[in-house]
Protein backbone atom coordinates (compact mmCIF):
# COMPACT_ATOMS: atom_id res chain seq x y z
CA UNK A 1 0.00 0.00 0.00
CA UNK A 2 2.80 2.37 0.94
CA UNK A 3 4.61 1.63 -2.35
CA UNK A 4 1.55 2.23 -4.52
CA UNK A 5 0.65 5.41 -2.63
CA UNK A 6 4.14 6.62 -3.37
CA UNK A 7 3.64 6.26 -7.11
CA UNK A 8 0.62 8.57 -7.13
CA UNK A 9 0.95 12.31 -7.62
CA UNK A 10 -1.44 13.01 -4.74
CA UNK A 11 1.27 12.85 -2.10
CA UNK A 12 3.31 15.98 -1.54
CA UNK A 13 7.11 15.85 -1.69
CA UNK A 14 7.27 16.54 2.05
CA UNK A 15 4.92 13.64 2.84
CA UNK A 16 6.95 11.28 0.66
CA UNK A 17 10.17 12.25 2.41
CA UNK A 18 8.64 11.82 5.87
CA UNK A 19 7.24 8.38 5.00
CA UNK A 20 10.52 7.30 3.40
CA UNK A 21 12.39 8.40 6.53
CA UNK A 22 10.03 6.36 8.65
CA UNK A 23 10.28 3.25 6.41
CA UNK A 24 14.09 3.46 6.43
CA UNK A 25 14.17 3.88 10.19
CA UNK A 26 12.00 0.82 10.55
CA UNK A 27 14.28 -1.10 8.17
CA UNK A 28 17.39 -0.06 10.10
CA UNK A 29 15.80 -1.08 13.39
CA UNK A 30 15.12 -4.55 12.06
CA UNK A 31 18.03 -5.22 9.72
CA UNK A 32 20.60 -2.56 10.62
CA UNK A 33 24.21 -3.60 11.28
CA UNK A 34 24.61 -4.52 14.92
CA UNK A 35 27.89 -6.43 14.98
CA UNK A 36 28.56 -5.00 18.42
CA UNK A 37 25.25 -6.35 19.66
CA UNK A 38 25.50 -9.99 18.66
CA UNK A 39 23.12 -11.16 21.39
CA UNK A 40 20.21 -9.58 19.61
CA UNK A 41 20.80 -11.68 16.49
CA UNK A 42 18.89 -14.92 16.42
CA UNK A 43 17.96 -17.50 13.81
CA UNK A 44 14.50 -15.99 13.36
CA UNK A 45 15.96 -12.62 12.53
CA UNK A 46 18.41 -14.13 10.09
CA UNK A 47 15.56 -15.86 8.26
CA UNK A 48 13.63 -12.61 8.13
CA UNK A 49 16.56 -10.84 6.44
CA UNK A 50 16.42 -13.23 3.50
CA UNK A 51 12.68 -12.59 3.22
CA UNK A 52 12.84 -8.81 3.46
CA UNK A 53 10.67 -7.00 0.88
CA UNK A 54 13.35 -5.09 -0.95
CA UNK A 55 10.95 -4.41 -3.83
CA UNK A 56 8.91 -2.18 -1.51
CA UNK A 57 12.00 -0.51 -0.05
CA UNK A 58 13.31 0.14 -3.58
CA UNK A 59 10.05 1.73 -4.64
CA UNK A 60 9.85 3.89 -1.51
CA UNK A 61 13.49 5.01 -1.84
CA UNK A 62 12.99 5.78 -5.52
CA UNK A 63 10.02 8.10 -5.01
CA UNK A 64 11.23 9.42 -1.65
CA UNK A 65 14.63 10.45 -2.95
CA UNK A 66 13.15 12.11 -6.00
CA UNK A 67 10.92 14.11 -3.67
CA UNK A 68 13.90 14.91 -1.41
CA UNK A 69 15.92 16.10 -4.44
CA UNK A 70 13.08 18.41 -5.45
CA UNK A 71 12.89 19.91 -1.95
CA UNK A 72 16.69 20.17 -1.75
CA UNK A 73 16.81 22.05 -5.06
CA UNK A 74 14.14 24.53 -3.96
CA UNK A 75 15.42 25.31 -0.48
CA UNK A 76 18.22 27.61 0.64
CA UNK A 77 18.68 25.83 3.94
CA UNK A 78 20.37 22.65 2.72
CA UNK A 79 20.89 21.34 6.25
CA UNK A 80 17.15 20.67 6.56
CA UNK A 81 17.40 17.44 4.63
CA UNK A 82 20.78 16.31 5.97
CA UNK A 83 19.26 13.80 8.36
CA UNK A 84 17.28 12.26 5.49
CA UNK A 85 20.38 11.91 3.28
CA UNK A 86 22.34 10.50 6.22
CA UNK A 87 19.67 7.89 6.86
CA UNK A 88 19.70 6.88 3.21
CA UNK A 89 23.48 6.48 3.33
CA UNK A 90 23.17 4.41 6.52
CA UNK A 91 20.61 2.15 4.84
CA UNK A 92 22.77 1.64 1.77
CA UNK A 93 25.76 0.92 4.06
CA UNK A 94 23.72 -1.77 5.80
CA UNK A 95 23.01 -3.37 2.43
CA UNK A 96 26.60 -3.20 1.19
CA UNK A 97 28.25 -4.16 4.46
CA UNK A 98 26.19 -7.00 5.93
CA UNK A 99 26.97 -8.32 9.42
CA UNK A 100 29.45 -11.20 9.70
CA UNK A 101 26.86 -13.68 10.93
CA UNK A 102 24.60 -13.07 7.95
CA UNK A 103 27.23 -12.45 5.34
CA UNK A 104 25.87 -14.19 2.23
CA UNK A 105 22.06 -13.72 2.21
CA UNK A 106 22.06 -10.28 0.63
CA UNK A 107 24.45 -11.31 -2.17
CA UNK A 108 22.56 -14.56 -2.84
CA UNK A 109 18.97 -13.31 -2.72
CA UNK A 110 18.92 -9.52 -3.03
CA UNK A 111 21.85 -8.44 -5.17
CA UNK A 112 19.55 -7.01 -7.86
CA UNK A 113 17.70 -4.92 -5.30
CA UNK A 114 20.99 -3.80 -3.75
CA UNK A 115 22.16 -2.72 -7.20
CA UNK A 116 18.95 -0.78 -7.82
CA UNK A 117 19.01 0.91 -4.43
CA UNK A 118 22.68 1.93 -4.79
CA UNK A 119 21.92 3.28 -8.27
CA UNK A 120 18.89 5.25 -7.16
CA UNK A 121 20.68 6.65 -4.10
CA UNK A 122 23.70 7.75 -6.16
CA UNK A 123 21.57 9.40 -8.78
CA UNK A 124 19.82 11.58 -6.19
CA UNK A 125 22.38 12.25 -3.45
CA UNK A 126 23.59 15.85 -3.44
CA UNK A 127 27.27 16.46 -4.20
CA UNK A 128 27.94 17.68 -0.67
CA UNK A 129 27.19 14.16 0.62
CA UNK A 130 29.54 12.32 -1.72
CA UNK A 131 32.42 12.36 0.77
CA UNK A 132 30.34 10.09 3.00
CA UNK A 133 29.58 7.77 0.11
CA UNK A 134 33.17 7.20 -0.99
CA UNK A 135 34.28 4.99 1.94
CA UNK A 136 30.96 3.15 1.82
CA UNK A 137 31.40 2.25 -1.85
CA UNK A 138 35.06 1.38 -1.37
CA UNK A 139 34.32 -0.92 1.56
CA UNK A 140 31.32 -2.37 -0.27
CA UNK A 141 33.48 -3.18 -3.31
CA UNK A 142 36.22 -4.71 -1.16
CA UNK A 143 33.76 -6.85 0.76
CA UNK A 144 32.06 -8.00 -2.45
CA UNK A 145 35.44 -9.13 -3.83
CA UNK A 146 36.20 -10.95 -0.57
CA UNK A 147 32.78 -12.66 -0.55
CA UNK A 148 33.05 -13.69 -4.23
CA UNK A 149 36.31 -15.58 -3.63
CA UNK A 150 35.19 -16.92 -0.26
CA UNK A 151 31.93 -18.28 -1.72
CA UNK A 152 33.77 -19.89 -4.64
CA UNK A 153 35.97 -21.71 -2.19
CA UNK A 154 33.00 -22.82 -0.11
CA UNK A 155 31.01 -23.88 -3.19
CA UNK A 156 33.98 -25.93 -4.38
CA UNK A 157 34.41 -27.57 -0.98
CA UNK A 158 30.62 -28.10 -0.87
CA UNK A 159 30.35 -26.58 2.60
CA UNK A 160 26.90 -26.18 4.19
CA UNK A 161 24.49 -27.05 1.39
CA UNK A 162 21.76 -24.78 2.84
CA UNK A 163 23.64 -21.70 1.71
CA UNK A 164 23.68 -21.03 -2.07
CA UNK A 165 27.35 -20.10 -2.27
CA UNK A 166 27.54 -20.04 -6.08
CA UNK A 167 24.55 -17.69 -6.21
CA UNK A 168 26.14 -15.45 -3.56
CA UNK A 169 29.43 -15.38 -5.48
CA UNK A 170 27.62 -14.28 -8.65
CA UNK A 171 25.60 -11.65 -6.79
CA UNK A 172 28.76 -10.29 -5.17
CA UNK A 173 30.44 -9.64 -8.53
Amino acid sequence: MVASAFDSDDLSNEAKVVVMGSVLLQYLNIYGNTDDDTNSKDENRRRKTSEARYDIITSVINSGLEAASNIDADTEDKATLDSVWDRVIETVSTLLLPPKDNRYDGYAYHSKSILNIVAIALSHLPTRKLTLVEPMLENGANLAVEVAFECNEKAYNQDDEDIPYSQAAEGAM
Binding site: N116, V118, L122, L130, L137, A141, V145, F149, G171, A172
Partner: protein, 191 residues
Protein backbone atom coordinates in the same frame (compact mmCIF):
# COMPACT_ATOMS: atom_id res chain seq x y z
CA UNK B 1 27.35 -9.33 -20.44
CA UNK B 2 26.86 -5.89 -18.99
CA UNK B 3 25.70 -3.42 -21.59
CA UNK B 4 26.21 0.28 -21.24
CA UNK B 5 24.25 3.05 -22.87
CA UNK B 6 25.08 6.70 -22.75
CA UNK B 7 22.05 8.89 -23.33
CA UNK B 8 21.44 12.60 -23.08
CA UNK B 9 18.26 12.51 -21.07
CA UNK B 10 17.34 10.20 -18.22
CA UNK B 11 14.30 8.00 -18.61
CA UNK B 12 11.28 9.34 -16.74
CA UNK B 13 11.43 6.46 -14.30
CA UNK B 14 14.56 4.46 -13.49
CA UNK B 15 13.94 1.01 -14.90
CA UNK B 16 14.16 -2.11 -12.81
CA UNK B 17 17.74 -2.98 -13.63
CA UNK B 18 18.85 0.51 -14.45
CA UNK B 19 21.51 2.73 -13.03
CA UNK B 20 21.31 6.42 -13.83
CA UNK B 21 24.12 8.79 -13.08
CA UNK B 22 24.95 12.23 -14.37
CA UNK B 23 28.50 13.05 -15.38
CA UNK B 24 29.78 16.16 -13.62
CA UNK B 25 31.98 16.88 -16.62
CA UNK B 26 29.61 16.42 -19.55
CA UNK B 27 26.28 16.62 -17.71
CA UNK B 28 25.27 13.55 -19.64
CA UNK B 29 23.39 10.76 -17.96
CA UNK B 30 24.80 7.29 -18.11
CA UNK B 31 22.15 4.69 -18.08
CA UNK B 32 23.25 1.17 -17.45
CA UNK B 33 21.45 -2.07 -17.87
CA UNK B 34 22.93 -4.95 -16.01
CA UNK B 35 23.17 -8.61 -16.56
CA UNK B 36 20.96 -10.20 -13.89
CA UNK B 37 23.94 -12.05 -12.40
CA UNK B 38 26.39 -9.23 -11.91
CA UNK B 39 25.69 -6.77 -9.15
CA UNK B 40 27.18 -5.60 -5.90
CA UNK B 41 30.84 -5.07 -6.82
CA UNK B 42 29.85 -3.53 -10.15
CA UNK B 43 27.35 -1.19 -8.44
CA UNK B 44 29.99 0.01 -5.94
CA UNK B 45 32.87 0.34 -8.37
CA UNK B 46 30.84 1.96 -11.12
CA UNK B 47 29.44 4.40 -8.58
CA UNK B 48 33.01 5.32 -7.57
CA UNK B 49 34.14 5.66 -11.21
CA UNK B 50 31.26 7.92 -12.17
CA UNK B 51 30.83 9.99 -9.04
CA UNK B 52 34.38 10.13 -7.64
CA UNK B 53 36.77 9.14 -10.46
CA UNK B 54 39.77 10.81 -8.86
CA UNK B 55 39.39 9.22 -5.43
CA UNK B 56 42.24 6.90 -4.32
CA UNK B 57 39.84 3.94 -4.01
CA UNK B 58 39.34 3.77 -7.79
CA UNK B 59 43.07 3.57 -8.38
CA UNK B 60 43.77 1.07 -5.61
CA UNK B 61 40.89 -1.26 -6.55
CA UNK B 62 41.81 -1.09 -10.24
CA UNK B 63 45.47 -1.80 -9.57
CA UNK B 64 44.60 -4.62 -7.19
CA UNK B 65 42.08 -6.39 -9.42
CA UNK B 66 43.67 -5.83 -12.82
CA UNK B 67 47.18 -6.39 -11.43
CA UNK B 68 46.21 -9.73 -9.85
CA UNK B 69 44.43 -10.78 -13.04
CA UNK B 70 47.50 -10.08 -15.19
CA UNK B 71 49.85 -11.81 -12.75
CA UNK B 72 47.68 -14.91 -12.46
CA UNK B 73 47.02 -15.41 -16.16
CA UNK B 74 48.23 -18.99 -16.42
CA UNK B 75 47.19 -21.87 -18.65
CA UNK B 76 47.57 -24.88 -16.45
CA UNK B 77 45.20 -24.54 -13.50
CA UNK B 78 43.46 -26.99 -11.19
CA UNK B 79 39.65 -27.00 -11.13
CA UNK B 80 39.59 -24.95 -7.93
CA UNK B 81 42.07 -22.43 -9.29
CA UNK B 82 40.14 -22.24 -12.54
CA UNK B 83 37.03 -21.26 -10.58
CA UNK B 84 38.94 -18.50 -8.77
CA UNK B 85 40.48 -17.38 -12.03
CA UNK B 86 37.01 -17.11 -13.59
CA UNK B 87 35.90 -14.91 -10.69
CA UNK B 88 39.00 -12.77 -11.09
CA UNK B 89 38.25 -12.32 -14.79
CA UNK B 90 34.61 -11.39 -14.07
CA UNK B 91 35.76 -8.78 -11.56
CA UNK B 92 38.36 -7.46 -13.99
CA UNK B 93 35.72 -7.14 -16.71
CA UNK B 94 33.47 -5.29 -14.23
CA UNK B 95 36.40 -2.93 -13.54
CA UNK B 96 36.91 -2.35 -17.27
CA UNK B 97 33.19 -1.80 -17.91
CA UNK B 98 33.13 0.76 -15.11
CA UNK B 99 36.29 2.51 -16.31
CA UNK B 100 34.87 2.79 -19.80
CA UNK B 101 32.02 4.90 -18.40
CA UNK B 102 34.35 7.23 -16.46
CA UNK B 103 34.75 10.67 -17.97
CA UNK B 104 38.05 11.47 -16.25
CA UNK B 105 40.82 11.26 -18.84
CA UNK B 106 43.38 11.77 -16.06
CA UNK B 107 42.25 8.54 -14.42
CA UNK B 108 42.51 6.59 -17.67
CA UNK B 109 45.87 8.08 -18.63
CA UNK B 110 47.21 7.04 -15.21
CA UNK B 111 46.06 3.47 -15.85
CA UNK B 112 47.43 3.36 -19.40
CA UNK B 113 50.36 0.98 -18.70
CA UNK B 114 48.12 -1.46 -16.83
CA UNK B 115 45.51 -1.41 -19.59
CA UNK B 116 48.18 -2.06 -22.22
CA UNK B 117 49.39 -5.09 -20.26
CA UNK B 118 45.78 -6.29 -20.07
CA UNK B 119 45.54 -6.49 -23.85
CA UNK B 120 48.04 -9.31 -23.67
CA UNK B 121 46.11 -11.69 -21.39
CA UNK B 122 44.63 -15.00 -22.55
CA UNK B 123 40.97 -14.12 -21.86
CA UNK B 124 39.27 -12.73 -24.97
CA UNK B 125 36.55 -10.80 -23.11
CA UNK B 126 39.09 -9.07 -20.93
CA UNK B 127 41.34 -8.18 -23.86
CA UNK B 128 38.36 -6.68 -25.67
CA UNK B 129 37.25 -4.75 -22.56
CA UNK B 130 40.76 -3.28 -22.13
CA UNK B 131 40.91 -2.48 -25.84
CA UNK B 132 37.57 -0.69 -25.63
CA UNK B 133 38.89 1.65 -22.92
CA UNK B 134 42.16 2.24 -24.75
CA UNK B 135 40.22 2.94 -27.95
CA UNK B 136 38.09 5.52 -26.17
CA UNK B 137 41.03 7.35 -24.66
CA UNK B 138 42.01 10.66 -26.15
CA UNK B 139 45.75 10.21 -25.80
CA UNK B 140 46.75 12.98 -28.18
CA UNK B 141 44.72 15.45 -26.12
CA UNK B 142 46.30 14.15 -22.91
CA UNK B 143 49.79 14.40 -24.43
CA UNK B 144 49.21 17.91 -25.78
CA UNK B 145 47.75 18.93 -22.40
CA UNK B 146 50.82 17.57 -20.61
CA UNK B 147 53.10 19.23 -23.19
CA UNK B 148 51.31 22.53 -22.62
CA UNK B 149 51.69 22.05 -18.87
CA UNK B 150 55.41 21.27 -19.33
CA UNK B 151 55.87 24.34 -21.59
CA UNK B 152 54.17 26.54 -18.98
CA UNK B 153 56.38 25.06 -16.26
CA UNK B 154 59.48 25.70 -18.41
CA UNK B 155 58.41 29.27 -19.04
CA UNK B 156 57.79 29.84 -15.34
CA UNK B 157 61.15 28.28 -14.47
CA UNK B 158 62.88 30.61 -16.95
CA UNK B 159 61.08 33.63 -15.50
CA UNK B 160 62.11 32.63 -11.99
CA UNK B 161 65.70 32.09 -13.15
CA UNK B 162 65.75 35.58 -14.70
CA UNK B 163 64.27 37.04 -11.52
CA UNK B 164 66.92 35.20 -9.57
CA UNK B 165 69.74 36.59 -11.73
CA UNK B 166 68.31 40.11 -11.38
CA UNK B 167 68.11 39.71 -7.62
CA UNK B 168 71.72 38.44 -7.45
CA UNK B 169 72.85 41.49 -9.45
CA UNK B 170 70.84 43.69 -7.10
CA UNK B 171 72.47 42.05 -4.09
CA UNK B 172 75.92 42.49 -5.63
CA UNK B 173 75.18 46.16 -6.32
CA UNK B 174 73.88 46.70 -2.78
CA UNK B 175 76.91 44.94 -1.31
CA UNK B 176 79.22 47.22 -3.27
CA UNK B 177 77.26 50.24 -2.20
CA UNK B 178 77.42 49.06 1.38
CA UNK B 179 81.19 48.63 1.16
CA UNK B 180 81.49 52.11 -0.32
CA UNK B 181 79.39 53.60 2.45
CA UNK B 182 81.40 51.78 5.09
CA UNK B 183 84.59 53.13 3.56
CA UNK B 184 83.18 56.65 3.66
CA UNK B 185 82.09 56.18 7.30
CA UNK B 186 85.54 54.94 8.30
CA UNK B 187 87.08 57.91 6.38
CA UNK B 188 84.93 60.37 8.36
CA UNK B 189 85.75 58.78 11.69
CA UNK B 190 89.48 58.88 10.86
CA UNK B 191 89.32 62.64 10.16
Amino acid sequence: MTRIYLIHKPPRVPCKFGFIVQSSVTNQYSYLIYHPNSHVFLACFMGLCQKMPTCPAVNSLTNQILGETIDSDEDDLSEKMRLQSKTRHSLAIAVCESLSTATSQDLLVGLFPLLCRLTNVENDGLRRAAGKILGGMNLSEAISRERQRADQADLRAKEIEEENIAMLEEIEYLQKENEELQRQVSGYSAT
